[in-house]
Amino acid sequence: MRTKIINYAVAFLVLLVLNFILPRLMPGDPLSAIYGEEVLVQMSPELKANLIGRFALDKPLWEQFTSYISSLAKGDLGYSYYQNAAVSEIILAHLPWTLLLMGLAIIFSSVVGIIMGIESGWKRGKLMDKTCLTGMMTLSGFPSFFLGMMLLLFFAVTLRFLPLQGARTAYGNLTGGWIVLDVLKHLILPLTSLTLAEIPANYLLTRNTMIINAREPFILTAKAKGLPDSKVRYRHAGRNSLLPVVTRIGIKLGIIVTGALFVEIIFSYPGVGNLIYTSLLMRDYPVLQGSLIMVTAFVLLVNLGVDLIYKKLDPRT
């Protein structure tokens, strides 16, 4: 367990070092690499001095690195010149939307995937299984952004009543329950794209584990005891099939974050993914780097959490 924590810490450190080095590898001084010539030209001398102090650019490399780490520890992710605000502020404004989208997607895709996987694995070889399997296989080929695009087209061209972008209706004068409904309405298309893209992987993994478990002796015992089919399926076989999926959630988080990035772009959903995209377009490096760090930190933390839960779930370790 301790090694795992060290691993995560090292991984994070690697990212930080990369973040630190890249602008300094570029030709020219780091300030222009970070902010660009065009912006530097317009900057007032006070602001420039302020930024140089902030990044400790007039000090030797090692001191720059330590000041970089210490400001990160204080939660200072830098300053965006374009948006004239602290990077952490900007990211925190976008973060909740992504969490909402991803959280719901993980829950829905896990639940649906697991249940269908259990059923399919149990009835392996029968028509239901074969159909589900084929369907899921086909679905697995579609990248989440293509699914999103198809949904967008369908609802833009044919059925026109769902909002095609944004997280909520701006200044709609909505109150209480209406706000929730409005948010949900805007969530439907991006959530569906992301969920559909994730279900096949859960399904396949559960189904595979289920198939393996179905032959285990303890299942035979349960059946011999006369337990109803569904109980055997869920209480016994199912629960054991949960383990790989739960473990996989940690690894899968990276994939879901990626998926969310693209879905947010297509539906102009104001989450961190969209922020990464726009800051990439504008080469707003502080925001870009800050968001990438935050996303990675989040993934690592969740992984850590999953590892802790795993210890509880699996009595063998």
């Binding site: 769902l162 972008q165 944004g166 701006a170 200044y171 409005d182 439907i188 569904s230």
Partner: protein
């Protein structure tokens, strides 16, 4: 059965949301408010906190600030009109402008607006220049009486009214006199102005703005009580306009026909921005004027408009100023219409001969490097087409795609042959020519080899007589077209659509110094 129940319930939840939203539609969500609200869609959304020091240094950022802050003068479809200054005239002998200010104007916090605020603003910007105003030409601002100011200029300066009087937002002295670091000043007080609207809400992440009309606006009653800016991509904008969710928006050209059929009004903006071919005239063979002219003959600008802009653009004029600038545009200059034969004639006279489709001289094939970056949409395709055309004409082209920062650095340090770039501000005062011909930054041609051109450019800024200035502009365009330090390829046409509930228009010479956006705050007056 438990499995079925769970799946079923999930399905039902989705179904419910689906149905409810279908029933909900969009009417209810916009609320039934009494106020007349005007909704404008914008693809970028966030243009910064709308104070004079914190809005993003681009046109749309300025416009959002202009709703809150008034300037001395303003413009409508016809030209200059009074705003905070009721009357104005120019004292030729003293090279000073005298502005008689409106009386009975209050700041949004109730304090009275007087000449002191104007004097303060002119002094404050000397220490803290705002983005869009270059006030270095101002010698001194003097208060004649509480409602009259006299602005002395250092030199004769033709664009003063347009670039300073129409653009400089007047700041309240009682608030800004304490502010040491204006760019960090983002409190509510930073948005106290004399303009027709106040800011109710600004959400950076969502890219939305909400304005509320200011009661007792000195120019009259406002028809529109609330203005909303929401973030909608251009592609979605036409759908939003048709659904009535949005009153006005810029729209992609292909959508215009359909929108017209739906009864929406279309505004067209012709020559405000240009895509340019930058030429490195410090380096052989591009340092030869004739060679540059041959390039112009070899590039088919009409085809460029037809293909990359799908017809929605005007062919670039070699004099830089677009034909839509009816007053300043010189129609009698050499346009180098596409003629590969003429290009060939020139190149041969320069010592090149054609072999196997390409030009050779002294045993070397003629090859140029064309740089571009993905910064502006479609630039890569533009560069590809230009390469295609030049190759067809016999000039080999290596195209390189760099990120915009590297491109700027290379162009800035003259390490290039050709580059595709672009800039705007062409629909305002022609002072912009000085910036883009003689100016030092990388969007400028940085060409000062023609003495006559340099003199004309510097003189035109000081020529207060409009007719005489026009003569100079004609000559400037003629010489520029002969020298061709850079070649304007096209001016894209931009479209706005609106439902007619407010009479939007394109301001003559653009808003303030020349912003080509049809959101003049005066449109919302009764």
């Amino acid at each position: 059965m438990r499995k079925n129940k769970v799946v079923l319930s999930i399905f039902l939840v989705f179904l419910t949301i689906f149905l409810v939203s279908a029933l909900l539609k969009t009417d209810i969500s916009y609320g039934k408010t009494e106020a007349i609200t005007y909704t404008i869609a914008d693809a970028t959304g966030d243009w910064g906190y709308p104070s004079p020091y914190t809005h993003y240094p681009r046109g749309p950022g300025y416009v959002r600030m202009s709703f809150i802050f008034d300037t001395l003068l303003w413009k409508d479809e016809t030209g200059f009109i009074p705003l905070l200054a009721q009357k104005w005239h120019y004292e030729e002998k003293e090279n000073a402008y005298i502005f008689s200010l409106q009386k009975g104007v209050s700041w949004h916090d109730g304090r009275e607006f007087t000449a002191k605020d104007v004097i303060f603003t002119f002094n404050y910007i000397k220490k803290h220049p705002t983005w869009m105003v270059d006030s270095s030409i101002v010698e001194e601002a003097v208060e004649i009486d509480p409602y009259t100011v006299k602005i002395y200029l250092k030199e004769l300066y033709a664009p003063f009214l347009n670039n300073v009087a129409c653009t400089l937002p007047i700041l309240p002295q009682h608030i800004w006199q304490e502010v040491e670091y204006p760019r960090g000043f983002q409190k509510d007080e930073a948005l106290v102005g004399t303009g027709p609207y106040r800011l109710c809400d600004y959400n950076r992440a969502q890219g939305t703005y909400l304005y509320q009309s200011s009661p007792n606006y000195y120019l009259g009653k406002l028809k529109v009580e609330r203005i909303k800016f929401i973030k909608v991509s251009e592609q979605m904008a036409s759908a939003a306009l048709k659904r009535g969710e949005v009153n006005a928006s810029s729209v992609p050209p292909e959508a215009v026909k359909d929108l017209k059929r739906w009864g929406l009004q279309i505004l067209t903006c012709l020559g405000s921005w240009n895509a340019k071919l930058m030429i490195n005239h410090t380096k052989e063979p591009l340092s030869s004027r004739k060679f540059r002219q041959a390039l112009a003959f070899a590039i088919n600008r009409e085809e460029i408009v037809k293909i990359t802009q799908r017809g929605y653009a005007t062919v670039g004029s070699t004099g830089l100023i677009p034909p839509s600038q009816e007053y300043w545009y010189n129609p009698n200059i050499e346009q180098y219409s596409y003629s590969p034969a003429k290009a060939q004639a020139i190149l041969e006279s320069l010592g090149y001969h054609r072999k196997n489709g390409y030009y050779w001289k002294n045993g070397e094939k003629l090859r140029l490097e064309l740089l571009t970056s993905p910064q502006f949409a479609g630039f890569i395709r533009l560069a590809e087409l230009v390469s295609q055309q030049l190759e067809k004409a016999g000039i080999a082209v290596s195209m390189r795609i760099l990120d915009s920062k590297s491109l700027d650095v290379r162009v800035g340090s003259w390490k290039f042959d050709l580059a595709v770039s672009g800039h705007g501000a062409l629909s305002g005062d022609p002072f912009i020519l000085n910036k883009v011909i003689l100016g030092k930054d990388f969007i400028s041609a940085r060409y000062d080899k023609n003495e006559l051109l340099n003199k004309l450019l510097s003189d035109q800024l000081h020529q207060m007589d409009r007719e005489k200035r026009k003569e100079m502009m004609y000559k400037i365009q003629k010489i520029y077209a002969q020298e061709l330090p850079a070649l304007t390829l096209y001016y894209p046409t931009w479209y706005w659509a609106h439902d007619g509930s407010s009479n939007l228009y394109y301001t003559q010479d653009g808003i303030a110094f020349g912003i080509p956006i049809p959101l003049n705050k005066l449109c919302f007056l009764e």
